[in-house]
Amino acid sequence: MTESIAITDLADAEQGTSLWKDAWVRLRKNQLALFGLGVMLFLCVIALLTPWIAPYGYETQNLQLGAAPPSWEHWLGTDIFGRDMLTRIMYGSRVSLAVGFIATGVALLIGVLYGTVAGYAGGRVDAVMMRLVDILYALPFMIFIVLLMVVFGRNILLLFLAIGAVEWLTMARIVRGQVQSLRRQEFIEAAISLGLSRWTIIRRHLIPNTLGPVIVYTTLTIPSVMLLEAFLSFLGLGIQPPQSSWGLLISYGVETMEEYPWLLIFPGLTLSITLFALNFLGDGLRDALDPRASKD
């Protein structure tokens, strides 16, 4: 979360406010996007405050109760050990959101740097760099991630890296395209003739101007990363107990869904609503920040 805040601050400082004010006005008209933003803020607050506001302890068992359907004491029911589902979903949200934000951050960092360098260098360097991206694009990455997790054990840090390493490719392409078109504009020529160093031009003039599409694509990357994490956890290759994530809760829910359907339905619903919200927010931001881009 802190990252995206940092980005907006930076943008405000660099760009003046008009573009962002304009975008905000447009975004406010899009009710679905506002709904998405609201859901995301709500979830982030809940995830941050979980240790203090969770109704029960994370590992508190109540074996006598066992798996109970939703009730007044346990709003979302309990699992087979009598652990409160609401509490477990809240703790799961910390891991799921953290994976989403951190892995996206990794993808953002690699993708923006790589794309900027390729787009700014142009010529042969650009051709070689983008050729590499094309080759990586063609790799069956899902298979590679499964392989990585199996080979090197189920390490959460590796999970971030692996997911981030997959998702940076599209970011690099988008940024490169932007930089290529910006490079020929007069303000860059002016910066060059003022004798600014290459790195300063990239940092002060190019990257801030690619922020619009980058923010849009970041918002759309977070849900796909969360989905990937849930997928891996579902296969038993992602987050390991005693840690908990939505994917893991869903995979437990599937095992007992015939007897205790609420153990599948509630984590599933939480994941779906979150993905829904993020996708709407991303679409809304695209319309707001980049009116020319079409909706697919």
């Binding site: 094309d134 080759i135 063609a138 790799l139 069956p140 899902m142 298979i143 590679f144 499964v146 392989l147 990585l148 199996v150 080979v151 090197f152 849900p223 989905l227 849930a230 997928f231 579902f234 296969l235 994917g247 869903i250 995979s251 829910g253 599937v254 869904m257 015939e258 359907p261 599948l264 339905i265 599933g268 994941l271 779906s272 993905l275 829904f276 996708n279 709407f280 079409s294 909706k295 697919d296």
Partner: protein, 311 residues
């Protein structure tokens, strides 16, 4: 056109080499050999086994002999299932996975194109919003959630369809195909909506209408051809996704396909099986990307023209 196909084929070679090399060394770097899980085996047996699987040779020699085998279409013996080759295992699982992917693709194209075209014909009306919101739902509902929910509703509660299996009971292919297909139906719906919206405002559509053609001929014959180009370009990557997605669906519905073999092989550290399936998957994906590129050129007169002019 011939030169285009040839250059695309040549581009595929480095991709495959990267896949083979990366997988080969990754798998060899893995801690815990394929035999370490078993009870303690006498050292001479280990030696004999290592000799059989060429593990006693230096790494680079193993690598080149593997490349050589691959060039002859030979994936080597399985570590886990003695006496069976990886070729046999892949061929055993492939027809099932291909059948599943084919049905899923039919589901995806049919539902997706119908929803997308419907939405594009009356943009910004309920006829647009309803199918497109449903499409968003399809994107946000991952297959590992969709599958169990469908099983719960149609298999357990309503008892309309079998909950698992493949080809044993009538109708047991329906739920897996729907589970695997819906996510892609959603993407296809969005792509075809966008494509149709753009095409339907073109001059040649106005000409077709001016000729007095009935609206359904205009839409199906003149509109679809251009409107579905983005969909065709998506089919290659979609097929790749269907293959990887088949892991989950095959696990949920206990379907004896390639995806399930792959997950098992990964857990068993069946080196040759992992290598073989990864290379095989990669080759398939590269092939399908190639095919969809070719089809895209073939159905899009503009691209064909550009190619003929030598770009």
């Amino acid at each position: 056109m011939g030169r285009f196909i040839l250059s695309r084929l040549l581009q595929a070679i480095p991709v495959l080499l990267v896949v083979i090399t990366a997988t080969f060394f990754l798998v060899r770097a893995a801690p815990g050999g394929p035999f370490s899980a078993e009870k303690i085996v006498p050292p001479e047996v280990v030696k004999a086994l290592e000799a059989r699987y060429k593990l006693d040779q230096p790494m680079w020699q193993q690598y080149f002999s593997y490349l050589n085998d691959l060039a002859h279409g030979e994936f080597g013996p399985s570590f886990r299932y003695p006496g069976r080759s990886v070729n046999e295992l892949i061929l055993g699982g492939l027809p099932t996975t291909a059948e599943l992917a084919f049905y899923a693709m039919l589901v995806a194209i049919f539902i997706g194109a119908c929803a997308g075209v419907m939405a594009a014909l009356k943009p910004n009306t309920p006829q647009d919003y309803i199918p497109m919101s449903a499409a968003m739902l399809g994107i946000c509902m991952p297959s590992f959630l969709m599958g169990p929910l469908l099983v719960l509703i149609f298999g357990v509660w309503l008892e309309w369809l079998p909950v698992s299996g493949w080809g044993d009971l009538p109708g047991d292919k329906i739920l897996p195909a729907i589970t695997l297909g819906t996510g892609y139906a959603a993407y296809i719906a969005r792509l075809s909506r966008g494509g149709m919206l753009e095409v339907m405002s073109q001059d040649y559509i106005r000409t077709a209408r001016a000729k007095g053609l009935p609206e359904w001929v205009v839409v199906l014959k003149h509109g679809l051809r251009g409107g579905l180009i983005p969909v065709v370009a998506f089919l290659g990557p979609a097929f790749a996704g269907l293959l990887s997605g088949s892991f989950v669906v095959e696990t949920i519905f206990q379907i004896p396909g390639l995806g399930r073999f792959y997950v098992q092989a990964a857990f068993n550290r069946d080196y040759t099986m992992i290598l073989g399936t990864t290379v095989f998957f990669a080759a398939l994906i590269v092939l399908f990307n190639l095919l969809s590129d070719i089809i895209a050129v073939w159905i899009n007169p503009k691209l064909r023209h550009q190619l003929r002019e030598g770009r």
